[in-house]
Symmetry: C2
Subunit: 329 residues, 2 copies
């Protein structure tokens, strides 16, 4: 009998769900099992797919359920973390009030942790990723939207309404002048710094930019051609307009970081998601703006870093939450 304890982490997304077995040191025991979410097939089918993904993860790790100490499940909001419920997230329609935690717990007979996906990703980075040396950290995840998570001394700031770390909807400009966000409000960080909004800003700037720019070649291009990645690539190639847009993005992200420095004052602020590919130049732009616009004392030593676990952060963090659950008992 092995002394090793194993945990399954499952990360449910709008398109696919991913699961893997993770050991006590946070190492995945196989490449993750991936299945299509097919939310449109309804929530009962969804719960079955979750169970199937978990079973496949255990099989892929060449283990049996007997080896598993606990399971962790992460899903996108809206949710009720304490009750273990998916409420009605926009990217899991038509699901509503899905008792995820109790279902998984019943099917497998294992202690089951439940967490918001961005919080789980933050916990993954805190546990074994970019922030493993930190005592407290904030994660901003940059994708179609902007998500976030806050960890302080091994505790995930879930919030009383499961809205802790909703960092995409932290305002960096005022409600009367800010850019309009997908959520309906104005001034949210997401309306500036999500991949979608990097492209939107590129289109807007193009329309009034007096200089020369290769972005002009994409004036009528669709969003599958004119992507945030393309803007970052053109910037890396020296295009002035693209550089301005990347620079502005760093500035907006730094304003988000500064708000977290004045509230929770973490050791480390981590940025994850596609934009991480832009590398050290982009990180150091953000770092510079944090030092310029943040509180002088904490910004002297706060670390601004990129995430290191990529898209594995979610299931690793979910497994970490499962581990916390068993530790607590």
């Amino acid at each position: 009998m092995s002394e090793e304890r194993y945990f399954v982490g499952l990360d449910v997304g709008g398109t696919t769900m991913k699961a893997a077995v993770v050991n006590n040191e946070g190492h995945p025991q196989s490449v993750p099992a991936v299945m299509d979410t097919h939310a449109e097939r309804g929530q009962d089918a969804g719960l079955e797919t979750m169970c199937a993904t978990i079973r496949k993860a255990v099989a892929d790790a060449k283990l049996t359920m007997d080896n598993i100490a606990a399971i962790g499940v992460a899903t996108p909001g809206l949710m009720d973390i304490k009750a273990g419920l998916i409420l009605d997230p926009p990217n899991l329609k038509p699901w509503k009030n899905v008792p995820v935690r109790d279902h998984i717990q019943k099917v497998f007979g294992k202690p089951t942790a439940y967490q918001n996906d961005a919080n789980a990703a933050a916990y993954g980075e805190f546990w074994v990723g970019a922030a493993q040396e930190a005592k407290s950290m904030v994660l901003f995840t940059l994708g179609t939207g902007v998500g976030g998570g806050i960890i302080i001394n091994d505790v995930i700031i879930e919030g009383e309404h499961s809205h802790g770390g909703e960092l995409g909807h932290l305002r960096i400009d005022t409600p009367d002048r800010g850019r309009i966000c997908g959520c309906g409000a104005r001034g949210c960080l997401e309306a500036y710094a999500s991949a979608t909004n990097v492209v939107k800003r590129a289109r807007e700037e193009m329309a009034c930019w007096r200089g020369v720019s290769k972005l002009r070649n994409y004036y009528t291009a669709n969003d599958d051609v004119l992507t945030a990645r393309l803007v970052f690539e053109l910037a890396a190639g020296g295009d002035d307009l693209a550089r301005k847009i990347v620079d502005d993005t760093a500035y907006y992200l730094a304003l988000g970081a500064c708000a977290l420095i004045a509230t929770v004052d973490p050791d480390m602020v981590v940025f994850g998601g596609g934009m991480v590919a832009a590398g050290e130049g982009f990180r150091s732009l953000i770092d510079g703006y944090v030092k310029r616009y943040g509180l002088p004392f904490p910004t002297k030593t706060v670390k601004i870093s990129f995430a290191s676990l990529g898209s594995d952060a979610g299931f690793i963090g979910a497994a970490g939450c499962a581990r916390l659950l068993v530790q607590k008992k």
Copy 2:
């Protein structure tokens, strides 16, 4: 021998320091002992005054040091909470690197807790004040400046650089357009919502207000006559310009609350300080703006309240921190 456990809470301010003995239920055992801080006499004299204030508090409670289980001391920042050091706060000049916690602990031979004054006030309100029913709360203290504290499940968010809950320097407008703050930055909440800045905004608005206003009678008045209190009184009396300034103040405070709702998502947001005297009308203005500009789901049920302990919150909270220290052991 009494079973009752007692704690001394000491709240050190720029002008005076206050201490009282507090029992295990958070009730002060006398009116607080108050002594002048006289920071200009140097830090050694300051430490002696702290000890004298503590001794007077114990005597005023008709107790002896044998009855005291632990001591809590709160001071204004800058500070190193973990090290128990006052660094070099602007309102305690010329003090520098004062080892408060170790000194008090050595003199009295009691476990000694050390905390930021606004964090201590927040903990006081959380323990036995306005937020005693809450699981998590944020306090904004409105005075000459704006301070703050964040409590989540009985834990004070101190921050890794002792800057947790520096809510006066949370930005509610952008660095390029925001009002300039005493800290040198632009857009800080304090530059809008401190008592000083309520008056500044009143003066600015007076200069361009087209309507009739009684504030005009104070056009050349000094700041000891034209106070935030006067602005609030004129607003209560129906003066349109004064009402606009009070309304704007509520809006700015709500933006601060919204940022905290999107980060820590607390049960309750509490406002303390002089403006609390403005009463339910002002609270409900803030509440309305929070619902309008905050995340829809948490703002449905988050409670917006006024502090209930007044200027006793600091020493009561400091005593609460002492109690936490002994509980942990």
